[in-house]
């Protein structure tokens, strides 16, 4: 009876926790199968990561920054070779200096540079767009439902605005954006990028690939983390089982009624 009560309480508290997470206006994005989510983490598909990078650098990076990542991280991800990353970086210009004459100068980006931001500062970004395109470094960690939400958002643009919804001038209708009116125009369409590996660039594919890239940018430690985690948990399970056996063995001495706490000294 008491057990039942406790189980009911636990169920109730879990229900509460679930309900606490389901609040909010916009529809809940559909759960997708990602290679990097799941009960025991996962990893990134290197080809997909590289395609996602192509989408990011060719499309998103035009307006959005990922200021926390450096080009060297591309090499560390295992999806880009050092030469490929160097070549990619050299396509961007960064300010350096002052040089011996005291002048600032521009030079091509190197592996050690952070991803070059499209605007020098937030004011410039706001002047160009009306709103500041957010930095995408940790975007999948910074939105409820993470990758599922970003994916739903990218494919959630609708030309037809449903009745009863008014979208202000300069905004676009998106089913999954809170409030539905999003300043960003649909960034991806079928064939927006010509994939170097020949994969067909459907909207869904583009979105999945770039979300994978952004998830990697948000958690570049994910593969190392989950790989170590598996080892640690296996170790702990074995250790705990051994400790349990030892505990039961030691506690058998309690059957002796004379066992006491008398000072041995």
């Amino acid at each position: 009876m008491r057990k039942l009560f406790i189980i009911a309480l636990m169920g109730l508290s879990l229900g509460f926790a679930g309900a606490a997470h389901a609040a909010g206006g916009a529809p809940v994005p559909a759960k997708q199968n990602w290679t990097f989510t799941g009960l025991f983490g996962g990893g990134f598909d290197k080809a997909q990561l590289k395609r996602g990078g192509q989408v990011f650098f060719e499309v998103c990076n035009g307006c959005h920054s990922v200021s926390l990542m450096a080009y060297r991280n591309l090499v560390e991800s295992g999806a880009w070779t050092e030469d490929e990353a160097k070549e990619l970086a050299s396509g961007f210009e960064v300010q350096d200096g002052p040089n011996d004459e005291g002048e600032m100068f521009m030079r091509p980006a190197r592996l050690s540079d952070r991803f070059v931001s499209p605007y020098p500062n937030d004011k410039a970004a706001a002047a160009a767009h009306g709103a500041i395109p957010p930095d995408l470094s940790v975007i999948t960690k910074a939105r409820k439902y993470g990758p599922d939400y970003i994916h739903a958002l990218l494919i959630g643009y609708k030309d037809e605005v449903p009745e009863g919804v008014t979208i202000p001038e300069g905004s676009n209708y998106n089913e999954f954006f809170p409030g539905n009116a999003i300043a960003m125009a649909a960034p991806l369409t079928d064939g927006a990028v010509e994939y170097a590996d020949g994969t067909e660039a459907t909207l869904d594919q583009l979105s999945r690939d770039v979300v994978t890239f952004l998830a990697w940018a948000a958690e570049p430690e994910l593969e190392a983390r989950t790989a170590l985690g598996i080892k640690v948990l296996i170790y702990l399970v074995i250790l705990t089982a051994m400790l349990g056996a030892l505990k039961h063995r030691i506690w058998r001495r309690l059957s002796d009624p004379n066992l006491s706490c008398e000072d041995p000294h």
Binding site: F5, L9, L12, S13, F16, A19, A20, A23, L39, F40, G41, L68, N73, P134, D135, S137, V138, K141, A142, R143, K144, G146, P178, P220, E221, A224, R225, T226, L228, G229, I230, V232, L233, L236, V237, L239, T240, L243, G244, L246, K247, I250, W251, R253, L254, S255, P257, N258, L259, S260, C261, E262, D263, P264, H265
Partner: protein, 412 residues
């Protein structure tokens, strides 16, 4: 006390000059412990382990963290990305805070269920409540450090509570902030406090253990130990039992660290702090939610603040509010039911704290109303139920001794 003799000459040499060897032996090896402690008695030592983990990871995080609004957010991400095993340090620390509260809440509810706060352990309990207060202050300031949206707005909301103090309220808030808004001076001093408080907490834990070792542990029967046969040495019996429990706990804790490191966090805290944009819902971490619900249950600001603080401070007088001489709920049939209703009430408060106030609960009432009912019941339990139960409840007969009960169990 006769002089202790040790075979090891170094130990003997130290012991003759500073009796620290016998002190450690007395409190960690031969320390008498009731034979019948169940697994609910594991949580105190588990909380101690987590405290040590928090201090150690915290020291190394502090070596890499920078407490300035322009770089605080990025410095935390830099720890995760560029510091060797920085992600492990950060996620151990971040989830460790949740684990610390989870363990301490279980520890506190255990104390309530088995009446561990009753004479002669009142001071032990009160030091525990002080530890809990120190934890809350430490956790609150630690949450501000990553300087995300929830950090900033949480700090703003909580510090603003003090503006409810009559006459000098606004001055107090300005003094706490070190300016006219939550900004660099606030962040910098919070960092200093966040580093200092854990050591105060450590000292309090030492006092807590001192008080514990003076009267020894309570036990599930809630009766006093009478003969040496009621007790057994701490080592090896409880060292191995604590280690076994620690194994299970570490599996639970590290699962989150390695596989769901942001499970307990708010996504909004990954948006850098922006004083110009208020998040749609400002919610504290889960462990503060019941008190947040109490704060919002009272329409008046000062009233809400008083009720919220009273919700914690009332624990200090719990030993005197509970008038029953019987400690354990096992022998208090009515109290046992009331305990579980109180526990449920705390969960309801937590649930209300996570919701926005005007949301409907099952379509019958607003969250505010539910919060008001739950808050009222919370205080009703302490102020009305506990004093009356002690007077009118018919308790079950208490067993003769711990040894007898243990013998019965092993006879089966």
């Amino acid at each position: 006390m006769s002089k202790r003799q040790y075979n090891n000459r170094v130990m003997q040499w130290v012991e003759d000059r500073l009796p620290i060897i016998s002190l450690m032996e007395n409190s960690g090896v031969i320390y008498p412990t009731p034979k019948n402690l169940n697994y609910w008695w594991n949580y105190g030592s588990l909380a101690g382990v987590v405290m040590v983990i928090m201090i150690l990871t915290g020291i190394f995080l502090a070596m890499n963290y920078q407490a300035h609004p322009t770089v605080a957010f990025d410095s935390v991400e830099r720890i995760v990305r560029d510091v060797n095993y920085g992600w492990l340090l950060r996620y151990l620390h971040m989830n460790g805070a949740s684990m610390f509260f989870l363990l301490v809440y279980i520890h506190m509810f255990r104390g309530m269920y088995y009446g561990s706060y009753k004479a002669p352990r009142e001071l032990l309990w009160m030091i525990g409540v002080t530890i809990y207060l120190a934890m809350m202050a430490t956790a609150f300031m630690g949450y501000v450090l990553p300087w995300g949206q929830m950090s900033f707005w949480g700090a703003t909301v909580i510090t603003n509570l003090f503006s409810a103090v009559p006459v000098v309220g606004t001055d107090i808030v300005t003094w706490m902030w070190g300016g006219f808004a939550v900004d660099f001076p606030t962040l910098n001093r919070f960092f200093a406090w966040h580093y200092l408080l854990p050591f105060i907490l450590f000292a309090l834990v030492f006092l807590h253990l001192w008080a514990l070792h003076t009267h020894k542990s309570n036990n599930p029967l809630g009766i006093d130990a009478k003969t040496p046969q009621d007790m057994m040495p701490f080592h090896p019996f409880y060292t191995i039992k604590d280690l076994y429990g620690l194994g299970f706990f570490m599996i639970f804790y590290l699962y989150f660290v390695f596989f769901q490191p942001n499970f307990f966090g708010e996504v909004d805290n990954y948006i850098p702090a922006n004083p110009m944009v208020t998040p749609p819902h400002i919610v504290p971490e889960w462990y503060f939610l019941p008190f947040y619900a109490m704060l919002r249950a009272v329409p008046d600001k000062l009233g809400g603040v008083i009720v919220m603080f009273a919700g914690v401070l009332i624990l200090y007088v719990l030993p005197w509010l509970d008038t029953s001489k019987v400690r354990s709920a096992r022998f208090r049939p009515v109290f046992k039911q009331m305990f579980w209703i109180f526990f449920l009430d705390c969960l309801v408060l937590g649930y209300v704290g996570a919701k926005s106030p005007d949301e409907m609960f099952m379509g019958i009432m607003t969250m505010t109303t539910l919060g008001q009912i739950a808050t009222t019941y919370y205080f009703f339990h302490f102020i009305v139920l506990l004093p009356l139960l002690g007077k009118y409840e018919t308790t079950k007969p208490l067993p003769n001794s711990i040894a007898e009960e243990v013998a019965k169990k092993y006879a089966q």
